[in-house]
C-alpha cells in the first residue's frame, strides 16, 4: 500500500494556503481525489518545448570528490595538500593544478563553492543531492533526473527520458535513480553491467517484421479493450509499449563504434570516457537527462594518489565534452554538471586521506542559462567553513532548473496537494543566471 501523506504543512515545506486554495478549486471539478496525480494527466503539453528542449549530462563523482583537489584549492594552508593552484582564463579564479584543461575553459563554467548540505552519509547524502530535499515519511520525491525527464521529455519520445550509467560496484546501491511519486514512467533506464541497456535488442528467434507486426496485433487488441474504458494506468501501459520500437531503434546511440576513431580518441579509452561519449550521443538525440557515475572517490586513505589519478581523467573528459558540445552548437542546449554526494574534509587524516565533508564543498554547472566564468560562494582560508554565499541542496536544484528554463516553483499535484519542484521559500541563485 502506498503511503502518501498530504498534511500540507509548511513544516514539510508545503504551502498551506496553496493546499487549501487548490483543494477548494478541486472541489468544483470534483478533482479532489486524494490519490490522483493530476499533474501526470497531460504531459502532452511538453510537445511545445521541442524547439528549445534543454538536456543535461551529470558527471556524478560517486563517493565524494575533494573540492580541495578540484574547484576550491587552498595552496599553502595546513589543509591544502601537496598540489598547487593554477590561474584560469577567468581573472582571479584559480583551480587545482590537476585540472589544466579546465583551467583554460572556466569561461564556460560556473563554480559553486559554498555548498553546505549538512549530510555526510553516502546514501542519504546522494539522495539529498539528487532530490534537493529529504523524503517525507510516505512521500518519495523524484530526483532531478526524473523531474527534468518529465519537464523536457516528449510524450511519444523515441528515446529514453532518463539514462543512468553506474558500472563500478562501489556505492552503486547508495543512490539509484528514483522517480519517486512521478512513477515508473520517469524511472531511469539504468546501465550497470555494460554500455548497452537491457532488452533493447530483439531476440534472434524473431524477425524484424514479425516483431513489429505482433506489436501491431497488440495495439489492435488494446484498442478494442480501451473502448468505454479510461484510466491513467491503462494509458501508461499502452504508452510503454508504444515506446518500445523507438527505444530499440535508439540502441545505436549506445554504440560508440558509430563515432569516428578521431572522436573516440579525443575522449580517450577509459570506460568513463566512453560513457560520456555515449551521453553526448544521447543528448544530441534528445534524451533529456543522462547521469554518468564515476566511482569511487571515497579517499579515506591515500587521498592525494587517488585524486592525482582521477582528477586528470575528469579534467580531460569534461574539457573534451564541453568542446565537443560547443562545436556541435549545443552549448546553449546541454548543461553539464559535476556533482557528488558531498566533498571531503580539509583536515588530512593519519592515512593521508580525507573523510566525508558536507559543510563547505563545491560543484560546477556549465552551459544553458548559466553564467560562464562565475564563482558563487567563498570558504575560509583552510576550507572549513563557508564564509559567503552559502548554498544548500534545494537552492542548487532551483538554480539548475532555472538555468534550464524550468520554473522551480512550478507545482506537481498529488491529489489536491501541490508539490513544488523545490521546497517553498527556496529560490535560484540569480547571480549565476544569464
Amino acid at each position: 500500500m502506498p503511503r502518501i501523506s498530504f498534511c500540507g504543512s509548511a513544516d514539510h515545506a508545503v504551502n498551506r494556503r496553496a493546499f487549501l486554495g487548490s483543494a477548494a478549486a478541486g472541489g468544483v471539478s470534483l478533482a479532489a481525489d486524494m490519490t490522483a496525480i493530476n499533474a501526470l494527466a497531460a504531459p502532452a503539453v511538453n510537445g511545445a518545448l521541442k524547439n528549445n528542449q534543454k538536456r543535461v549530462i551529470l558527471l556524478w563523482l560517486a563517493g565524494g570528490a575533494s573540492q580541495l583537489e578540484t574547484w576550491d584549492p587552498k595552496p599553502g594552508a595546513s589543509t591544502g595538500g601537496p598540489f598547487r593552484a593554477i590561474p584560469t582564463d577567468v581573472p582571479g579564479l584559480h583551480i587545482s593544478e590537476l585540472m589544466p584543461k579546465m583551467a583554460s575553459r572556466m569561461k564556460t563554467t560556473c563554480v559553486i563553492r559554498g555548498l553546505n548540505t549538512k549530510n555526510g552519509d553516502h546514501g542519504s547524502g546522494a539522495q539529498l543531492m539528487m532530490r534537493g530535499r529529504r523524503d517525507e515519511a510516505g512521500l518519495k520525491y523524484p530526483d532531478m533526473g526524473a523531474v527534468i525527464a518529465r519537464e523536457m521529455g516528449l510524450l511519444e519520445s523515441k528515446v529514453p527520458d532518463y539514462v543512468a550509467f553506474y558500472t563500478q560496484t562501489e556505492g552503486r546501491g547508495f543512490a539509484p535513480g528514483d522517480s519517486g511519486f512521478l512513477g515508473a514512467r520517469y524511472a531511469p533506464m539504468e546501465l550497470t553491467t555494460n554500455n548497452v541497456p537491457e532488452f533493447v535488442r530483439k531476440l534472434d528467434g524473431i524477425s524484424e517484421l514479425d516483431h513489429e507486426e505482433r506489436a501491431g496485433l497488440r495495439t489492435l487488441l488494446s484498442k478494442e479493450f480501451a473502448r468505454g474504458r479510461s484510466s491513467e494506468t491503462l494509458s501508461s501501459q499502452n504508452e510503454a509499449y508504444q515506446r518500445v520500437r523507438g527505444i530499440m531503434a535508439s540502441e545505436k546511440l549506445f554504440d560508440i563504434s558509430q563515432e569516428s576513431q578521431k572522436v573516440r580518441d579525443r575522449y580517450g579509452p577509459t570506460q568513463f570516457a566512453e560513457q560520456v561519449l555515449i551521453a553526448r550521443r544521447l543528448v544530441e538525440a534528445g534524451v533529456p537527462f543522462v547521469r554518468v557515475a564515476r566511482a569511487w572517490w571515497d579517499s579515506h586513505g591515500q587521498n592525494f594518489e587517488t585524486h592525482q589519478e582521477m582528477v586528470p581523467e575528469l579534467d580531460h573528459i569534461m574539457a573534451t565534452l564541453l568542446d565537443d558540445l560547443a562545436e556541435r552548437g549545443l552549448a546553449d542546449d546541454v548543461m553539464v554538471l559535476t556533482l557528488a554526494e558531498f566533498g571531503r574534509t580539509p583536515g588530512i587524516n593519519a592515512s593521508l586521506g580525507r573523510d566525508h565533508f558536507a559543510s563547505a564543498w563545491s560543484m560546477t554547472i556549465s552551459g544553458c542559462g548559466i553564467k560562464g566564468g562565475s564563482v558563487y560562494g567563498k570558504t575560509d582560508a583552510k576550507g572549513n567553513k563557508v564564509t559567503h554565499e552559502e548554498v544548500d541542496a534545494g537552492t542548487l536544484l532551483a538554480t539548475i532548473y532555472a538555468a534550464l528554463g524550468i520554473n522551480p516553483h512550478k507545482n506537481y499535484y498529488l491529489g489536491a496537494r501541490p508539490l513544488p519542484l523545490v521546497n517553498p521559500g527556496i529560490d535560484a541563485i540569480q547571480a549565476v543566471l544569464k
Binding site: M1, P2, R3, I4, S5, F6, C7, G8, S9, D11, G27, V28, S29, L30, D33, M34, T35, I37, L40, A137, G138, P160, G183, A184, R185, A187, M189, E198, F199, V200, K202, L203, G205, I206, E213, R214, A215, L217, R218, L220, L221, S222, E224, F225, A226, R229, S230, S231, E232, T233, L234, S236, Q237, N238, A240, Y241, R243, I247, M248, G415
Partner: protein
C-alpha cells in the same frame, strides 16, 4: 452541474458523519452485500448518474478468481461457470474460492505487502507471509492477528513469523510507530512528529509521541522481540520546554504508566539485564516485563470507541482490495477531515465487523457478493461518473504474483488443467510457485500505478518471457495450438486460453490474417499471437 450537485452531496454527508443511526446497522437478516448496495445506490441516485451494467459471467469469474485466489480462471472453470444455470452459481463459486488453499496464499501475499510496502520485495518476508497464510487459512479474527503480531508468542514456532513485523523495525522507533499506526489504524501520524497536524485538529505531537511511548521500549534480544519494563519518550514541542510523552492513543485515551516512567535504578537495570542475557544465551524469547507497554496498546486500541480506528481501517483496506480504491483515500488518512465517500456505509461495515468477531472472510464474502462489486468496467459515455461513486468497476493492475501466475496458466495447455479438483488445485499451486521468480521482475502496483517502459521492454525482448511462457514444450498452450489443423481453430483456442472468451469477428480476422501471412511457419505465428494476447491490457489488468 451534475458534478456540482454530487460534490455538495458528498460534503453534506461528510458533515453529517455522526455515528450511524440504529437503522443503519445491518440487522442479522440484511446481508452485508445488500447494505453495500443500498448505500452505493443511494449516492448514485443523488448524483443522478447511471451506473454501469452488471459484468457478464466470463468477466465476473475472472475478477473473482483474480481477487480471491490471485490468478486467472482456467478455461474449464470459465466454461463451467458460464454454462451453469444454477441461480446461486455466484455464491457457490465465491464459497469454493474463499475456502481453497489458494485464497490463503494470495491473501497472505497481499497482507505481507500491506505490512511491508517498501520492504525488500524480492520475495518479501517469507516467515511473516507464512504466519499470515496460516492465519487466513484458519480465518483468525483480525483482532487476534493484531494481538499476535504485537504480542507474539515466540515460543511457538508456528507463530514466530508474527514477530517479524515489529522485529524489522526495532532499530527505528519512529518508523515502528508510523508503520504500526498506518497498518492497523489507517493513520499516518508522521506529520505530527514535528508539529501539530495541520489538517487534523485533534492530532498533536502528543499523539505521535504518545503512540511512540507504547513502542519505544521494544527491542531485539538475540533474534527475539523483547520489551523493557521502563523507559520514557521525551520530545521537544514546537512551543515550550522538552517534555515526557504520555502513553496515549489517537483518541486521547491515556494509560497510567505508574512507576515505570521513572528513571530505573541501577539495581532494576541489572536485574533486567540478567533476565535478558539468560534468555539470549538460552536462545529463548525474553519474558514480557511486569508492565508491558505494548500489551497496553493492544488493550487500549480495542477498547470501546477506540476500536473505531482499528475496525474502519481494515474495512477500508478490504474495500480497496476488491474495489480498487478505498472508501477513504489515501488509506493512511483515516481522520475526520478526510471524509469517506460513503461515511455511513463505512460506519455500518466497521460495526458489523466488530460485532462479528472481526471475521474477514465474512466481510470479504459480503463485498464480493454485492452488485456494486460486479458492475462492468466499461462505460459507453464520454462523461465517466466520479470514481468515488463506485458506479463503474475500476481497472486494477495485477500484482506481480497475480500476473506471473496468470501468465503461467495462459501458457499451460488447458487440457492439463482439468479433472479431479484436488489434482487441478495441486497443479495450479505448482504453477504459482514456478511463477515466483518471474514475479520479482514486475513492479508492485500502488495507487496511480504506471507501467514503465522497462516492463514493455522486458516483455518485448526478454529471453525470460520467451522461455517461461512462449515455448512449444509438451503440455504448453503453444504445443496444443501447433497440433491443430485449422488456423482459425488455433486462433480461437489461443484467445480463449489467454483471455477466457471467444474472439470478436474483428479480432479473428486480424489474427487469422497475421497467421496466414506466415503460411508454412504457423507455429511461430501462434507464438506471436499468444505474445500479443498476454501483453494486451485485457490480460495485464483485472477489469
Amino acid at each position: 452541474m451534475l458534478r456540482l450537485r454530487l460534490f455538495a452531496a458528498l460534503v453534506l454527508s461528510a458533515c453529517m458523519a455522526e455515528p450511524a443511526a440504529a437503522e443503519d446497522i445491518p440487522q442479522p437478516r440484511e446481508p452485508i452485500a445488500l447494505v453495500i448496495d443500498r448505500h452505493i445506490a443511494a449516492a448514485i441516485a443523488t448524483a443522478e448518474v447511471i451506473p454501469a451494467t452488471q459484468a457478464d459471467d466470463a468477466t465476473l469469474i475472472r475478477r473473482l478468481t483474480l481477487d480471491l485466489v490471485g490468478r486467472i480462471p482456467t478455461t474449464a472453470e470459465v466454461e463451467s461457470y458460464v454454462n451453469s444455470t444454477d441461480p446461486d452459481k455466484r455464491g457457490k463459486l465465491v464459497d469454493r474460492l474463499i475456502n481453497s488453499p489458494g485464497y490463503a496464499r494470495h491473501q497472505a501475499t497481499l497482507f505481507e505487502v500491506m505490512f511491508n510496502p517498501a520492504g525488500d520485495r524480492r520475495g518479501g518476508n517469507a516467515a511473516l507471509r507464512q504466519y499470515l497464510a496460516d492465519a487466513v487459512q484458519e480465518n483468525k479474527s483480525w483482532d487476534r492477528v493484531f494481538r499476535e503480531m504485537l504480542l507474539p508468542d515466540q515460543s511457538d514456532t508456528k507463530l514466530k513469523g508474527a514477530a517479524e513485523f515489529l522485529r524489522a523495525r526495532v532499530a527505528d522507533a519512529d518508523k515502528m510507530t508510523i508503520d504500526v499506526s498506518v497498518a492497523f489504524f489507517g493513520v499516518n501520524v508522521s506529520c505530527a512528529q514535528c508539529h501539530h497536524h495541520p489538517n487534523v485538529e485533534e492530532w498533536t505531537q502528543d499523539h505521535f509521541y504518545g503512540m511512540k511511548a507504547f513502542l519505544a521500549r521494544t527491542f531485539d534480544n538475540g533474534g527475539f522481540l523483547g520489551e523493557r519494563g521502563y523507559g520514557t519518550v521525551k520530545f521537544k514541542p514546537t512551543k515550550g520546554p522538552e517534555r515526557v510523552a504520555k502513553m496515549m492513543f489517537f483518541t486521547g485515551t491515556t494509560v497510567d504508566t505508574g512507576a515505570t516512567s521513572a528513571e530505573p535504578n541501577a539495581d532494576m537495570v541489572k536485574k533486567e539485564k540478567e533476565v535478558l542475557d539468560k534468555a539470549k544465551a538460552g536462545k529463548t524469547p525474553p519474558p514480557l516485563p511486569g508492565f508491558s507497554a505494548r500489551t497496553q496498546l493492544v488493550e487500549v486500541a480495542l477498547r470501546d470507541a477506540n476500536a473505531d480506528y482499528f475496525a474502519k481501517n481494515i474495512v477500508n483496506r478490504m474495500w480497496h482490495r476488491y474495489f480498487g480504491s478505498g472508501l477513504v483515500n489515501p488509506l493512511d488518512q483515516l481522520h475526520s477531515e478526510n471524509p469517506a465517500s460513503h461515511p455511513e456505509l463505512l460506519e455500518s461495515l466497521a460495526r458489523d465487523l466488530a460485532q462479528n468477531r472481526y471475521d474477514l472472510k465474512r466481510l470479504t464474502r459480503g463485498l464480493v457478493m454485492s452488485q456494486a462489486y460486479s458492475r462492468s468496467s466499461k462505460y459507453d459515455s464520454t462523461s465517466l461518473p466520479d470514481s468515488r461513486l463506485f458506479a463503474v468497476a475500476q481497472l486494477k493492475p495485477m500484482t506481480p504474483q497475480q500476473l506471473a501466475t496468470s501468465l503461467k496458466i495462459a501458457a499451460t495447455d488447458p487440457a492439463t488443467l482439468t479433472g479431479k479438483p484436488e489434482e487441478v488445485e495441486k497443479k495450479l499451486e505448482q504453477l504459482e510457485s514456478a511463477a515466483r521468480g518471474f514475479a520479482n521482475l514486475i513492479a508492485q502496483p500502488t495507487d496511480n500505478f504506471q507501467v514503465g517502459v522497462g516492463e514493455a521492454l522486458l516483455f518485448s525482448n526478454g529471453d525470460r518471457v520467451f522461455k517461461d511462457f512462449l515455448t512449444e514444450n509438451s503440455g504448453t498452450t503453444l504445443a496444443r495450438a501447433k497440433a491443430m489443423k485449422e488456423p482459425r481453430q488455433a486462433v480461437e483456442f489461443l484467445v480463449r486460453t489467454a483471455l477466457g472468451r471467444s474472439p470478436t469477428d474483428d479480432e479473428t480476422t486480424a489474427l487469422l490474417a497475421y497467421v496466414e501471412k506466415r503460411s508454412g511457419r504457423e507455429a511461430e505465428a501462434y507464438r506471436q499471437v499468444l505474445w500479443a494476447l498476454i501483453t494486451s491490457p485485457e490480460f495485464r489488468f483485472s477489469y
